[in-house]
């Protein structure tokens, strides 16, 4: 944990873990686009919501992973800022905006996560563990429609966040492979995978939000 390289390796591993999670999340949400009145989506969501392995093992690991990643991100950002004691008056180095501003895209994702928890996770926890309501296996699809249909502000905030998420992932994916010493970050195949993955995640989630915004 002391060494800068170990910190970056852990940053990369937690990021890679979160990228797998996002893929799984997108795959499940895409089923809400199937024209079967949400049957498939409800079935999978219900399974995920009530399966003890998912709820009591995978979910805590996920929450730990997110917290670990953003806390480590803040630590690295602090140390890296401290390493440059004085700013240049004229600075013009050759590197991309995205790569230099992972903290900004990251903090936007964090703010988005707060909103996302407020929208979906807190109501679910209340429903399941505080009010002990009987499980309604069709509520998931309704809730999705309720939150997005005609809800301009929420849909817009989600879409903007997904764009910034895509930017974070575009640099993050190739960077993480370099951090763990597997492939140079500019490797052509790796860059291709990073482009496909980041555009796919970003556009996929945007498509779902926009679909439910317009279609009741």
């Amino acid at each position: 944990m002391q060494s800068s390289i170990v910190k970056k390796v852990l940053m990369a591993l937690s990021g890679i873990f979160l990228m797998f999670f996002l893929l799984q999340h997108l795959a499940i949400n895409l089923t809400s686009l199937i024209p079967d009145d949400g049957k498939t989506f409800n079935a999978i969501s219900h399974f995920m919501g009530y399966n003890p392995i998912v709820q009591f093992i995978l979910q805590p690991i996920l929450i730990f992973g997110v917290c670990f990643h953003f806390i480590m991100g803040l630590i690295l950002e602090y140390q890296n800022r401290k390493a440059r004691n004085k700013k240049y008056i004229y600075h013009n180095t050759n590197s991309s905006w995205i790569s230099k501003n992972m903290i900004i895209t990251g903090l936007v994702i964090l703010a988005f996560l707060a909103l996302h928890f407020y929208d979906f996770w807190i109501p679910e926890m209340e429903y399941k563990y505080i009010n002990y309501e009987d499980s309604d296996p069709t509520k998931y699809f309704h809730e999705l429609k309720e939150k997005f249909n005609g809800e301009t502000y929420r849909t817009a905030i989600y879409c903007v966040s997904f764009i910034l998420l895509g930017m974070h992932l575009n640099h993050g994916l190739s960077s993480s492979f370099q951090s763990v010493g597997v492939t140079p970050s500019r490797d052509r195949l790796l860059r291709k995978v990073a482009n496909i993955y980041s555009f796919g995640i970003s556009l996929g989630f945007i498509a779902i939000a926009v679909f439910h915004y317009f279609i009741h």
Partner: protein, 247 residues
């Protein structure tokens, strides 16, 4: 050429510095950037002013002494070129040129444009060498055959002159390109294999101790390195470090 120079002046390491303007006339386009500064300094000396301190030695791009951040770019606008090899023909008459020291908490300013880069020496001393038995049984380096591709890769990394432009360019002031180059250079050669583990662990430990930042893979170091040291060296550094820690 007539130029307006905006140069960082700072009396010593403790005093707060600032930018001062200097107008300079009749500069030849074929002069090097440092010769242009020599002309300015002569002018300052003639006027009884304190000349501007800047580092230089070989003036042919091999020693790694010269530095300067010129218009925001370490070693100036030319790719793969040290400041001493930069020519004034890269600028136009009437240009304004900002000249600042390399910035890093680990490279404190000594005076004006001169910074203390001894942190690099200490990293080098922590493992950037191969121990050779000099008791009379020394094996000639050329007696050990090395595959050409390995020798080429080692040579590419060995081209690093330790100037510190990578640190100056990086938003994190990371020294990973420098350390990566030094570690890779030996990792490719059989002579480097013996001390392989201690080398990378000790050099990284010293690098962290000196306060350099970590690598966010922005690629600014590679873009401004006068010797075109590739970012791949950082990947290899990470790899060597993990191998040494885990295996």
């Amino acid at each position: 050429m007539d130029l307006l120079l905006k140069i960082w002046r700072q009396k010593n390491s403790t005093e707060k510095g600032g930018v001062q303007n200097y107008r300079i006339k009749n500069i030849e386009p074929d002069m090097s950037f440092l010769e242009m500064l020599d002309v300015l300094n002569q002018q300052l000396i003639n006027e009884g002013d304190d000349p501007i301190a800047f580092d230089h030695d070989c003036r042919e791009g091999i020693c790694g002494s010269c530095s300067l951040v010129i218009n925001g770019a370490p070693h100036g606008p030319d790719k793969g070129t040290t400041t001493c090899q930069l020519h004034m023909r890269k600028f136009k008459s009437g240009d304004t040129i900002y000249i600042e020291p390399f910035r890093s908490s680990s490279f404190p300013v000594i005076k004006d444009l001169v910074v203390d880069r001894s942190a690099f020496d200490r990293i080098q001393q922590a493992g950037g060498y191969v121990s050779i038995n000099t008791s009379g049984n020394t094996v000639d380096a050329n007696a050990t055959p090395i595959p050409k591709p390995d020798a080429d890769e080692a040579f590419k990394s060995a081209a690093c002159i330790g100037c510190g432009a990578c640190v100056a360019a990086c938003k994190n002031s990371s020294a990973m390109l420098f350390v990566g180059a030094k570690v890779s250079q030996y990792a490719h050669l059989p002579q480097g294999k013996v001390e392989r583990k201690e080398r990378v662990i000790n050099m990284v430990e010293q690098m962290d101790k000196e306060g350099f930042g970590s690598c966010t893979n922005t690629g600014a170091c590679e873009a401004h390195c006068p010797k075109d040291i590739s970012l791949d060296n950082i990947m290899r550094l990470n790899q060597e470090y993990l191998k040494s820690k885990i295996l």
